[in-house]
Amino acid sequence: MKFPKNQFNTERGLQTFIALAKTYFRQYGQTLQVNVLDAEELKKAKAEPEKYKGLIVRVGGYSTYFVDLEEGLQDNIIKRTEQSM
């Protein structure tokens, strides 16, 4: 799974992640690979959306497919991801 960097630098974000991971292991999972989303990948996804159809990002409080977003919002997310790296 991919997370934005700021998932891990607030107490609430951490608690949410812990709840997600705990439930996952309790229910289904044996392996959880945690990746941090970086701006380079987002830029590639913007340029070649057909190769990144499954890429999910967080927009505020919910998740959505990056390639479905309007260009302005994509650029906004890329900028914020770069700033948080």
């Binding site: 709840a19 997600l20 919910y62 906004n76």
Partner: protein, 281 residues
């Protein structure tokens, strides 16, 4: 029993505690100038067109020429015909059981995180019987329940929910009645009346105020005073919904307004004693 729903969002974290599923009801009796879910306003299915996906093949035009006119019935034929995902119908009739069966998928995540279901929209209390039935079903499996409401509905709508409801997230846009009418199209008299009554019911309440710089931010202190001993959360104006107006063939009156800056919100929260959580938008 059916309700008109336009989205069901899993893993929501800013609409109540823990990990939640947000059920978005279509239809609202306010018309807030800053609305970031314009597809939530009309209580009927609507066509949305995503120009960035359109390749200009003209298949939709071959079906009918009623896009964005009053003759469009949102029948969905043009959306079906489009092979590029550029058209979709927003708003779907669902039964309470269908909604519940989707909500209950994440029950283990609710348990671990102290989360649950939140009914939102639009205005869920405009479909009060349906909303109450969804919450009743959620309660049969011990799911924590919340609603997000603008509270501009009869008190009886609230009363239907109370037996199955854990938390009310009640929006207060501003206190000045004239300003409220200007910004949302309706008077806030019924809203404030309902809010005062809610305070006496013993239900958990979080008051929430969307802060739109230059429009209602001057009312923040008054809203905090109104909230009294109950928590008040400030929500920063954001622009992630702006493109939806175009997708609906509408203009957006606040298209030039930038999002409320984080430090502006933090200072406002500190000054008024309200809460503010940065959500990344």
């Amino acid at each position: 029993m059916n309700g008109l729903i336009f989205d069901i969002q899993r893993f929501s974290v800013f609409d109540g505690p823990g990990i939640r599923t947000n059920v978005f009801f279509k239809g609202c009796n306010l018309r807030c100038k800053w609305c970031h879910n314009p597809e939530s306003q009309e209580n009927r299915p609507q066509l949305m067109v995503y120009q960035s996906k359109c390749v200009g093949c003209g298949k939709c035009a071959g079906i009918c020429g009623n896009t964005f006119t009053e003759s469009c019935t949102a029948c969905g034929k043009c959306a079906e015909a489009c092979e590029h995902g550029a058209r979709k119908i927003t708003g779907k009739e669902m039964t309470a059981e269908e909604v519940f069966s989707l909500v209950r998928r994440d029950i283990e995540f609710y348990r671990t995180s102290g989360g649950g279901v939140t009914l939102s929209g639009g205005e869920p209390l405009l479909q009060a019987d349906f909303a109450a039935e969804v919450l009743r079903l959620c309660k049969t499996e011990g799911i924590h329940t919340a609603i997000e409401t603008a509270a501009c509905v009869p008190q009886s709508a609230f009363e239907k929910m109370l037996p199955f409801l854990d938390l009310v997230l009640c929006d207060i846009k501003c206190i000045d009645e004239k300003l409220h009418k200007e910004l949302t199209g309706v008077s806030n008299r019924q809203i404030l009346q309902n809010a005062e009554w809610l305070k006496t019911t013993g239900k958990s309440i979080i008051f929430r105020m969307p802060v739109i710089p230059g429009l209602n931010d001057g009312e923040t202190e008054k809203v905090k005073e109104f909230a009294g001993d109950f928590p008040l959360e400030l929500m920063a104006y954001h622009v992630t919904g702006n493109s939806k107006y175009e997708n609906l063939g509408r203009d957006y009156s606040l298209s030039e307004l930038p999002p409320a800056p984080r430090d502006f919100m933090e200072r406002l929260a500190e000054k008024t004693g309200a809460e503010y959580h940065f959500t990344g938008m």
